[in-house]
Every structure is written in C-alpha cells, then in structure tokens.
C-alpha cells in the first residue's frame, strides 16, 4: 500500500524545467478533469442528483461551511484518537513480539491471519458491544489501523543488521541499550511505513463506523445526504474528508522526515504491506 514514493522521476538531479513539468502536468490534468466535468454537466444537462457540477459542490461547501465544519470536527478528532491508540498499541505489541520468541511464535501467525480477513465486517459487532456512537467508530478504526502497524513494526525490529547487534553484544551493551540505539532506529522507516498505512486505515474505519452508526460526523452527513439524494452535499463532505486524509497523511510524512533526520538515519522506505 505505501509503495508511493518510488516511482515518478527517479532522476537524481532534477532541472528546473522538470520540476515545473512535475507540478504543472498533474495539477493541469486535475484542473482539466474538473473543467470537463463542469462543461459536461452543463452541456448534457446531467441531473444534479446523478452528478452535480463542481461549481454546485463549491456552492454547497461555501454556503453550508459552518454546518459541515461542525461535522468535520468529530470525524477529525475520532481519526486522530484512533490513529494514536493504534500506533501506541501496535508499536508496543511489536516490541513485545521482538523480545520474546514465545510470544512471537504464539501470536504472529494470528496477527497475519487478521491482516488477511476483512476486519471491517466486524463493525456491526462493535455496535452490539458498544452501542451507537463515537466510541464504536473509534474502536472500529483502532481495530483496523492496528494490524498494519504491528506487522510493519515487527518486520522493522528484526531487520537490524546482525553485525551491528553482534557488535553491541561484544561491547556488552544491555538488551535495552541495543534496542534503544540499534533496533529501534533501524525499525523507524518500517514503523512509519506502517503508520502511513495505519492513518489511512483509521480514516476508513471512522468513516465506515459513521456510515453505520453515527449521528454525527462526515460519514453520517454522506449517508444522510445520499439518502436525501443531495449528491452535491455528498461530494462536499467527500472533499472535506479528502482534505483531512491528506492532512493527516502529510503530518505523518513530516514527522517521519523529522524523526529520521534526528536519528541521522536512512531515507524513508516504501512498501511494506
């Protein structure tokens, strides 16, 4: 999933014209798509229930911004909360897995199996347990964001170079010192790769939770507006969700850059899942 960073423009030295091209082309394409969408809607007079023109979406966003913003806050706070819980739990359990071969062999296959099954299907069960409301959305989101973080962190913690670990041993470093100074920094790119997947998963969990349970939040707005056939409102809420999603992903990305620079470590890796 997080295979994002590697493809485009693998050139090391990027001349100015190329930067312009790398920015202008995709932005131009997106703008052209939106323009085409607007024109098609007007020329063919597509019913706004099926596909409102972008301008109508913008009008909804502008006119109802206060209301939409009110619904954005719970979604945002639930996403952040569930992502934070999933990260702490995920990294902690991965550390436990690395320190004990018994725990690892007992639990790891189970965790991998959970990675494979569609966990989102458990959402209705959480409604039975926790009722209808914010708690359910958060728990669903934690539950699905947690697994990629564990698996990725566990992979990272065993990826430290054996030579370096042997060096630690011969220098009589304690297990804890070796962990703090070698294993953990080595694992950081993996931890962040897992967290990047985790943050998108947390958003998915919150939105699905809100689809099926909530009385608040953007997921609720989307379901409600779709039920009322107000497609422009649906799209407006989706725009806000996209902004939240990109913002949260961006924060994780910036945190990764800062932390990796702090440890003087390697460039971000891509693609663990």
């Amino acid at each position: 999933m997080a295979l994002l960073d590697t493809v485009s423009g693998a050139d090391e030295s990027i001349p100015n014209g190329r930067i312009l091209r790398l920015v202008l082309l995709p932005v131009g394409f997106a703008a052209a798509t939106i323009a085409l969408w607007q024109i098609t809607c007007q020329m063919l007079s597509v019913p706004p229930v099926l596909l409102p023109p972008p301008f109508a979406v913008w009008t909804v966003l502008r006119d109802n911004f206060a209301i939409l913003f009110d619904e954005t806050l719970p979604t945002l706070s639930e996403s952040i909360l569930s992502f934070a819980i999933a990260s702490v739990l995920g990294v902690a359990i991965a550390v436990a897995l690395t320190f004990s071969a018994w725990i690892r062999e007992a639990l790891y296959p189970g965790i991998v199996v959970f990675q494979l099954i569609p966990k989102i299907a458990l959402a209705p069960l959480f409604i039975v347990w926790l009722g209808v409301g914010e708690t359910t959305s958060v728990v669903v989101a934690v539950f699905i964001a947690f697994f990629p973080i564990v698996v990725s962190t566990a992979t990272g913690l065993v990826s430290a170079k054996p030579e370096v670990l042997r060096l630690c041993e011969s220098l009589t470093a304690s297990e804890w010192q070796a962990f703090r100074m070698v294993r953990f920094p080595y694992a950081l790119p993996y931890i962040f790769a897992g967290m990047k997947v985790g943050v998108t998963m947390a958003m998915i969990g919150v939105v699905v939770g809100e689809f099926i349970t909530a009385q608040r939040g953007l997921g609720y707005v989307i379901m409600f507006a779709a039920g009322a056939s107000e497609t422009a409102t649906v799209l407006a809420a989706i725009v806000l969700l996209c902004i939240i999603g990109l913002g949260l992903y961006g924060i994780v990305g910036i945190a990764e850059l800062l932390v990796l620079r702090w440890f003087g470590g390697e460039a971000p890796i891509s693609g663990v899942i």
Binding site: M1, L3, A30, A101, I117, P118, P124, F211, A226, Y249
Partner: protein, 266 residues
C-alpha cells in the same frame, strides 16, 4: 513476512519439538483463547447477545451452513469480478505509465492522491449511480482495489534492472520482447504484492457495499443479524467471511508461486 517468525534465538528444546514449535504454538494459542472465551462466557454469565460462546457459534454455523453458503456466493462472485477488473485495469494503466513519461508525470501524482484519501466515502455515490444491485458493489470494490495495483505495478516496472534493458536493446530485442522477457518478470513480485492488497481491498469494498445497499451477501447477512441482535449469527457469518478472505488471498499467493516458478525462481 513469515521471515520474522523464523528469525530469533530459539532456546534449547528437542530438535523435533523445536521445529514443530512455530506450528504448535499458534494452534495452542488459538485453542487456549477459544477455551478462555468459552469459560469466561459461561462462568461470568455473559448474555449470548453480547458474546455467544464458541460452541454456540459452532452450532449456529452448522445449523445455518446452507444459508451461509448461499450468502457467500454473491459476495465471492462480486469480489472476484472486482478483483479481476482491478487487476486488468491496474496492470494496463501501470504499463501505460511505464512507457509514456508524459502519462506518468500527469497521472501518477493524481493516483497517489487517490491512494491517500478515504475512498470508502464514495460508496453511497456508487449506489446513487448504479442502484442497489451488484454492479454498484463491483464498481465500488474495483474502484478501491484498483489503486494499489497501479501503484505497485508502476513501481515494479520502473524498478527493472537498467543494465538488462540495455542488453536487450543491444541485442536488438523488440520493445515487446524485452517487456515480455525482462520488465514483466522483474515486476512480478511488486505486481503480486499489489494484487494481494487488491484482493483484501476487493473483499472490503464488497462488504461495505453490502452493508449499505444489498439484499444478499455476507455483509448484508451480518448487518441483518447484528440489527436483530443475533450475535452468534454474526460470528458464524464472520467465520464464513474470514474463510472466504483467506481462500481468495491464498489463491493470489498460489498464483504468484506458480507464475514465478514458470519464470524461474528469483
């Protein structure tokens, strides 16, 4: 990922026992968890609505087995259709991106953008566009499972060893032959890692589709049983769904094994 399981220092046990440990331990853990669940549910008198015992779930599975099978088919069929569409479209677009720098620079950032935003939010739109039937679910599942395939395919094709490609060119291999003999085999691991993600995403997409708009399928069954507070039914359907997820993922993993064997192991 199983490499993680294998590494690490194993304390002295009998050599046979030590080799069997990675198999025995997870099974034992699962058995212990089920036992604990059963005991806890019985001893603490947890109401069946909240948490049915594993035995009740098993009984429910046995009783509802024909119904569950009936519900599994639509879900499996939708998932396979969506996966196939996502795989073909995804690999196709990845090839286009690989051969055209213009297309790559234009499309790739937008693809990454879509990879990062919560696409599930678009599910109700697909219902508006395509109605309550299976096409809406297949289209939605294709939509969310398509992006991982394109991106990992593009990464894989771009990661081909340049020296080998140069060799092909100096041996005057046609573009098509060097694609077939070099780029594609080189990209296989990345393509399959994308396909594995796509398969799990396809199941998720179909299930979400069934949650919000369906008259059949396991997702519909789960929602329905959940709202009737028949929790044992929910668990039974979740069991069926897990089996489906693992089987479909296993099929992709098996296909990877087969294809990579054809191309010689790497």
């Amino acid at each position: 990922m199983p490499a993680v399981v294998r590494q690490g220092i194993v304390p002295a046990l009998g050599p046979n026992l030590r080799r069997a440990r990675p198999i025995i331990l997870p099974i034992a853990t699962t058995a212990a968890a089920l036992l604990l669940w059963q005991l806890a549910a019985v001893q603490l008198h947890i109401p069946t609505v909240l948490l049915p015992t594993p035995i009740e779930v098993a009984r429910e599975m046995w009783r509802a087995f024909p119904i569950l099978m009936d519900q599994t088919w639509p879900t499996a069929l939708d998932t396979l259709l969506a996966f196939a569409a996502a795989a073909v479209l995804g690999i196709g677009l990845a090839i286009v991106i690989t051969y055209s720098p213009l297309m790559r620079d234009t499309l790739y950032p937008n693809l990454v953008f879509f990879q990062l935003v919560p696409k599930v939010a678009l599910a109700p739109l697909f219902v508006i566009w395509l109605g309550f039937g299976s096409p809406a679910r297949v289209a939605f599942a294709t939509f969310i499972s398509f992006f991982p395939v394109v991106i990992s395919g593009a990464v894989g094709f771009a990661g081909t060893d340049q020296a080998v490609l140069r060799l092909c060119r100096s041996l005057t291999a046609s573009e098509w032959r060097s694609f077939l003999l070099v780029r594609f085999p080189f990209a296989l691991p990345a393509i399959f890692s994308g396909l594995k993600v796509a398969m799990t995403m396809a199941v998720v997409g179909v299930i979400i589709g069934e949650f919000i708009s369906s008259q059949a399928g396991l997702g519909h069954y789960i929602m329905n049983a959940g709202s009737r507070l028949e929790t044992a039914d929910v668990f039974a359907a979740l069991g069926a769904l897990s089996v489906l997820g693992i089987v479909l993922y296993g099929a992709v993993a098996l296909a990877e094994f087969g294809v990579r064997r054809v191309y010689g192991r790497r």
